[in-house]
């Protein structure tokens, strides 16, 4: 019998205990993997936001705690547009409000004339007409949630908008919301002349690093956003999410480790005599150690497998909520599952360390006499 099978058979001795321990571990792994999937997906969405409309980069207000609090002026937009390397600078005002079943319906206020330069792939209909105040482009997911089609009207902020186009960008955040005339959004948000972000499309061949550095040097109140780390500078949410993710992972390791330790201590104590026999027939301490740690690692790997499956089920299940669907498109990348696996192995080693040391330190003769 291969040594691995011997380890596996040992776990089958107390099947219920093994199953319950694996389930306990799996809950921790579910938390770690599900949080990882959500965090990763939100980061991917955030990165997409920085390049919405095919922009090379976005500009926000430096030092703002949250991207939605960023406030930029028309003068700043003109300053950015004046750089010779800038092809187009498009100001966007973001607004959020409850609409239908979605409590965070995203509205992007854009000057209709800028839509020629802001890539919004239309599935049907047309762009906003210049000078229009009551027209709306609706994202595909938003249209689906609101059950609206081209030509339908949408009640928003005590106004009635006509859906003149339906688009799909591939970004859940944009596709779950709507694009409206900038002036209209500024009016109902009472932010006349203000914007949240400036999207910049540079001329072909422009050194983006040099351009963004110059903009920030010339305008310290502006933060250029090309990458996720740039995003973190104007939005603390991601950092908080990362910190929470790490804290919960540690908690999962700790709680899981206690559970595994409990199981392994019981298992080692029940088999004290058996360890004495194994040592008496010539097993080295190292092999006993390998067996105990192997049982624990296998137990946790089973927990990690169950936990990973549960995490996928959970992250798919939460999509039934429109609010979640409008900003989250789960991405299942290998690194998230590898993290779950690493946490599982860490739990196994942490939990089995004391029982394993106890098992190898047993004197063969005392262990054999153990009742």
């Amino acid at each position: 019998m291969p040594f691995f099978m011997l380890i596996f058979r040992n776990l089958l001795r107390q099947r219920i205990r093994t199953l319950l321990t694996a389930l306990g571990i799996s809950l921790g792994i579910t938390t770690v993997v599900a949080l990882g999937v959500v965090t990763h997906s939100l980061k991917a969405t955030a990165e997409d936001i920085l390049h919405a409309g095919g922009a090379d980069f976005a500009i926000g207000q430096s030092g703002s705690a949250d991207l939605s609090f960023s406030t930029l002026t028309e003068e700043q937009l003109e300053d950015v547009a004046a750089y010779p390397e800038v092809n187009h600078a498009i100001g966007v005002l973001m607004a959020f409000s409850s609409l239908g079943s979605n409590p965070y319906f995203v509205q992007l206020g854009i000057e209709p004339s800028d839509l020629e330069h802001f890539d919004v792939p239309l599935l049907e209909g047309r762009y906003l007409a210049r000078g229009a105040t009551d027209e709306m482009l609706l994202g595909e997911e938003g249209a689906s949630q609101l059950d609206k089609n081209l030509g339908d009207t949408v009640e928003l902020k005590d106004r009635t908008f006509t859906v003149v186009g339906i688009y799909r960008t591939g970004n859940v955040w944009e596709d779950g919301g709507a694009i409206l005339p900038l002036a209209t959004v500024q009016e109902y948000e009472r932010k006349g002349g203000l914007m949240t972000l400036i999207y910049v499309k540079a001329k072909v061949g422009t050194d983006l690093d040099a351009l963004t550095a110059r903009i920030e040097e010339d305008h310290p109140e502006l933060a250029t956003l090309r990458t996720l780390s740039d995003y973190n500078e104007v939005d603390q949410g991601m950092q908080m999410m990362d910190a929470a993710n790490l804290a919960i992972s540690f908690l999962a390791v700790f709680i899981g480790g206690i559970g595994v330790m409990n199981t392994m201590v019981m298992s080692v104590m029940e088999r004290t005599r058996e360890f004495g026999i194994l040592r008496a027939v010539g097993w080295r301490q190292r092999r006993v150690l390998q067996m105990v740690l192997g049982e624990s690692v296998l137990l946790c790997l089973i927990g990690a497998l169950i936990g990973s499956i549960l995490a996928v089920v959970f992250t798919r299940a939460i999509l039934i909520f429109p609010a979640v669907r409008s900003f989250l498109e789960p991405e299942y990348t290998p690194d998230v599952f590898i993290r779950g696996l690493v946490v599982g192995v860490a739990v196994a080693l942490l939990g089995a360390l004391y029982p394993a040391i106890r098992a190898v330190r047993l004197s063969p003769i005392q262990a054999i006499r153990y009742e």
Partner: protein, 232 residues
């Protein structure tokens, strides 16, 4: 096998427990020749099992020397290799792992030998056939009789072909018929394989199956004599 060579040399061994309050061995001395079948007998608590455990290197003596095949056990650093390759142990209780088959139990000591999975399986099968259980290789201990379990334990003790077999009351838990079978098997193995066999038993009749009977009392060897069974 060299019958003149000393396989086990126990010299003035003292072993106490509970900080000296219990004196299990009080200067026990014993010599066993290579290929010899020696029975150690005596009343309960006389130290015979303790002596066997010390020869098996399951414990260390307080004083005195134990030399096995020329190796002073006090100087052996790797006792695991000694236990797995130099001596085979048979306990009063079979001490088989309940979740494993007879074959898997026999293979347990072989994990410390340089054998492949297939070699382990084949060797376990050969050993089980040698103890008359070739057809029970896949049977778990719970489905074996007491005598069969002890025969599996004997096969396990022979797993790494040790030159010395140590049996601690191997028939103590068996009925007389099964006990006789186990004893016959041990004797056959000793004769066919030429192993040195040291058997501990409180039963004088069982002990009489040996070539030489050693009697212990109060932690000492007090009497040695030849039994009616000459060397094979």
């Amino acid at each position: 096998m060299n019958r003149d060579r000393i396989a086990i040399d126990v010299q003035e061994v003292v072993k106490t427990y509970e900080e000296g309050r219990i004196r299990a061995l009080s200067g026990a001395t014993l010599q066993v020749r290579e290929g010899e079948f020696v029975a150690i007998t005596g009343p309960s608590g006389c130290g015979k099992s303790t002596l066997l455990h010390l020869i098996a290197a399951l414990d260390r003596p307080d004083s005195g020397r134990i030399v096995v095949d020329g190796m002073d056990l006090a100087e052996v650093r790797d006792l695991s290799t000694y236990r797995s390759h130099r001596v085979g142990l048979v306990f009063q209780l079979h001490n088989l792992l309940p979740t494993l088959s007879a074959s898997a139990n026999v293979q347990i000591p072989m994990y410390e030998a340089e054998l492949s999975l297939w070699e382990r399986r084949a060797k376990a099968q050969r050993l089980l056939e040698a103890v008359g259980l070739g057809d029970r290789a896949n049977t778990p201990p719970i489905k074996l009789s007491g005598g069969e379990r002890q025969r599996v334990a004997i096969a396990r003790a022979l797993a790494n072909d040790p030159p010395i077999l140590l049996a601690d009351e191997p028939t103590g838990n068996l009925d007389s018929k099964a006990g006789e079978m186990v004893l016959d098997l041990l004797r056959t193995i000793q004769q066919k394989r030429g192993v040195t066999l040291v058997l501990v038993s409180h039963d004088a009749q069982i002990a009489s199956a040996a070539e030489r009977v050693v009697r212990m009392l109060d932690g000492r060897v007090v009497d040695e004599g030849l039994s009616g069974h000459p060397a094979g």
